[in-house]
């Protein structure tokens, strides 16, 4: 096979899939990409056995063929290549020549027969969603991560389901690490078909999806079929294999009806949190929130470093509530709220705190308190 392509365009594509091909799997070939040259285009496939990326791009193909080549090395060579047009030529016996003239690479490729098969999914019932909305779903959920040793399915993955609010249909994503929970409702167009009431998408795949969505896109097609979540652009697609497992009943957790609302200014609250976070450490993560009439007192005591105190005026008329939180969770939540006015809901020292934009319920962040003995 022999073909050439535009360096800049290909660098962009390869950069976006480096995360996917750098993931450790049981097969070493998943650090490769599959390049298929036919007609006047090439297609690129990356597969980490859970998430599959596939894209087709214009290229000048002299002779057709398939090759499996190390993703990172290929990316680095293309990125640093001096000319705008890069020539790829399979010389013999899986040896690939990259470039021509003064700068020339000779790379050994793998047997493409060993590259994991791309699932063939057809007739996907797609619906349309705004790229910005899908990006928001990914951002809201992926800030709630998981640790390396995590085994709980509902922490490893995010829940996706259809909800109806005020006679509108939304696609809801719920993400939790069992200490906090983010929930975001995105509008979409079309008739969404889910195999079950809800599905669980691995967070790893979602973070790759975050790179897949570009700000230049207007709308994207999404669909669920054959145990995969599929996102389709004009010339690119991503398929994420769903997780199987139980998702706990999260609905009581996001219900703030019996709680006391407090209106707050996001920027002000955010700067207060950033200041108190300075004194947190690995062993002392907790910040005490003391709600009094029209006043919130935020204190932190870290025996290893020292203490700090912040007073904020708030519109609060309930009983005194003293509760402790990990401020990082608040900083994360405020980071995904775009509105300036926020509502904060509290109840007592053993209950979670809920924050959301003041004027709508599209995004809800729930943060569990810390136990003060």
């Amino acid at each position: 096979m022999k073909f050439s392509f535009d360096k800049k365009k290909m660098t962009d594509v390869l950069a976006r899939i480096q995360g996917l091909t750098s993931r450790k799997t049981n097969l070493s070939i998943t650090s490769d990409i599959l390049v298929h040259a036919t007609g006047n285009s090439i297609s690129i496939t990356a597969n980490d056995l859970e998430t599959v990326f596939h894209g087709t791009y214009d290229a000048h193909v002299e002779s057709e063929g398939i090759l499996s080549i190390h993703s990172r090395k290929f990316f680095e060579i293309i990125k640093e290549y001096p000319d705008e047009d890069v020539l790829i030529n399979e010389v013999e016996n899986r040896w690939v020549e990259i470039g021509k003239g003064d700068s020339l690479f000779h790379i050994v490729s793998s047997d493409y027969e060993n590259f994991p098969e791309t699932p063939q999914i057809t007739d996907v019932p797609f619906v349309e969603i705004k790229a910005a909305e899908l990006k928001k779903m990914v951002d809201v959920s992926s800030v709630v991560g998981f640790s390396g040793e995590e085994k709980r399915i509902y922490v490893l993955g995010s829940l996706l389901e259809k909800v109806e609010r005020e006679e509108c249909l939304f696609l809801r994503i719920v993400s939790t690490d069992s200490r906090r929970l983010h929930c975001y409702d995105a509008p979409y167009e079309g008739d969404l078909v889910l195999p079950n009431e809800s599905i669980i998408i691995p967070k790893k795949g979602l973070s790759e999806l975050g790179k897949f969505i570009s700000l230049n896109d207007d709308t994207l097609k999404i669909g669920i079929k054959d145990n995969h979540f599929i996102v389709q652009k004009e010339n690119e697609s991503m398929m994420i294999k769903l997780l199987e497992g139980e998702y706990p009943d999260y609905k009581p957790v996001i219900n703030f009806e019996s709680m006391v609302p407090i209106e707050m200014d996001k920027t002000l609250f955010s700067t207060v949190l950033k200041r108190v976070s300075i004194l947190t450490s690995e062993d002392y993560k907790s910040v005490i929130f003391n709600f009094n009439e029209n006043e919130l007192l935020v204190t932190i005591t870290n025996p290893e470093i020292g203490e700090s105190k912040e007073k904020v005026m708030i519109g609060y008329t309930g009983e005194e509530v003293k509760t402790a939180f990990n401020p990082k969770y608040f900083v994360d939540a405020l980071g995904v709220i775009d509105k300036e006015n926020i509502s904060m809901y509290i109840k007592d020292s053993k209950s979670p705190c809920i924050i959301k934009p003041y004027d709508n319920d599209q995004l809800i962040c729930v943060i569990m308190a810390m136990h003060i003995s």
Binding site: T176, S178, R179, R180, V253, K285, K350, P352, V366, A369
Partner: protein
């Protein structure tokens, strides 16, 4: 400058001190059964090749005249406390490492106590006068080196490595004397033809680090005359554990679980008495051939109930495939923190309530045991009278 003090055959020396009949004779402190091990051997016994951790039957074979003396823990810890108190008079920075060993930072103490040698003599004399015990002292610019120095002239010796001698000493230092170099690391080092600390310089630092990881980095640092470790006077307890040698080797999982239950209860009680919670549970199993394994699990939430510790210990044990008979079982906890430090609660699931309920049960049981004795309330499975 760092001073390392190591008591000479501590337990045995105390027994010989208190019983003139034992003086000058080969004695071993430890249990009397054949399954016990030597905890300390007197210098007379060491001549026969008897050392700590050697099984008692083996020791008796080596020296048929060996006198076995049962240990007196409280006596030893009393003596230890008084020795540490003496050390505290010489420097504010004293780090007791174990019952018979301590580090002291003696930098800047010379105006008060004279030269390092004078100071070492003074400390030895005080211990000799007050406790009638001898010790060995090593003084060196680095902490690890002080420990190696104290071992050079044992018993009753003083070894000082001056700043200007330190580099030469380190270069010629036998690699197996470095704390942390075990059997496996040693054979790997020997394969690289590294026999002294100075030999490390024959390789690129990156090479050593990639081969030995964190420990490799330490070796490279030591070879360059850097030792990051300091004398930590404030002793922070890092773990609580308890282990027991079984009366006979076994593979019976039911019996092992019972032992674990009793160990977990003891560990849990100590943990709660210290008003702490733990986020790590580990077990240790020693087999009939004296090989041993440890297994650790990190918990999502810190716990302190015996039940939670036991559950984790059993889970760890169930993941072990028993190929040999078990000789010794240990259960322990680490990642300790004060119970008053706020603990993140779970948003979903009710595992936490269950832990909390067991903690309340333990609290009540602890109170009864504190008041009426520790053998009064116990798990039914541990009560021999209702066992079939």
């Amino acid at each position: 400058m760092i001073l390392h003090l190591d008591m000479d055959a501590f337990f045995a020396a105390i027994e010989q001190r208190d019983n003139p009949a034992l003086r000058g004779k080969p004695i071993a402190v430890g249990g009397t059964s054949d399954r016990s091990v030597v905890s300390t051997a007197s210098y007379e016994a060491r001549k026969y090749g008897i050392h700590s951790a050697m099984p008692m039957f083996q020791a008796k074979k080596k020296c048929p005249d060996l006198i076995i003396v049962p240990g007196h823990r409280t006596k030893y810890s009393d003596a230890s406390r008084q020795i540490m108190a003496i050390l505290n008079e010489y420097s504010p920075l004293v780090e007791p490492v174990s019952i018979d060993e301590a580090y002291m930072d003696i930098s800047g103490c010379s105006r008060l106590f004279g030269t390092h040698l004078e100071m070492a003599h003074a400390i030895k004399k005080r211990i000799k006068d007050q406790q009638h015990l001898t010790c060995s002292i090593g003084i060196a610019p680095l902490k690890y080196m002080a420990k190696i120095a104290s071992d050079i002239q044992k018993p009753d010796g003083i070894t000082i490595i001056k700043k200007e001698q330190a580099q030469a000493f380190a270069m010629a230092l036998d690699i197996k004397k470095i704390p942390g170099v075990g059997k496996r690391a040693l054979s790997q080092l020997q394969r690289l033809n590294i026999h002294t600390l100075g030999d490390i310089h024959r390789y690129e630092a990156e090479h050593i680090v990639s081969k030995f990881g964190k420990f490799g980095l330490r070796l490279v640092e030591l070879a360059n005359g850097i030792d990051q470790s300091r004398v930590e006077s404030r002793h922070i307890r890092k773990s609580i554990s308890k282990e027991v040698t079984l009366s006979h080797d076994t593979t019976d999982p039911k019996y092992i679980r019972e032992v674990m239950l009793s160990l977990s209860q003891s560990v849990g009680r100590t943990l709660r008495r210290k008003k702490m919670v733990c986020a790590n549970v580990f077990i240790k199993l020693k087999f009939s051939d004296f090989s041993q394994i440890t297994r650790t699990h990190k918990l999502n939430l810190p716990v302190c109930s015996s039940k939670s510790i036991y559950d984790e210990a059993v889970r760890l044990f169930e993941n072990v495939t028993l190929k040999k008979r078990v000789r010794l079982i240990g259960v322990g906890v680490s990642s300790l923190q004060d119970e008053s430090v706020p603990v993140q609660m779970e948003l979903l699931g009710n595992g936490q309530t269950r832990h909390k309920q067991w903690e309340r049960v333990d609290e009540a049981v602890d109170m009864i045991m504190d008041k009426f004795g520790s053998d009064l309330v116990k798990k039914a499975t541990l009560n021999p009278s209702i066992k079939e």
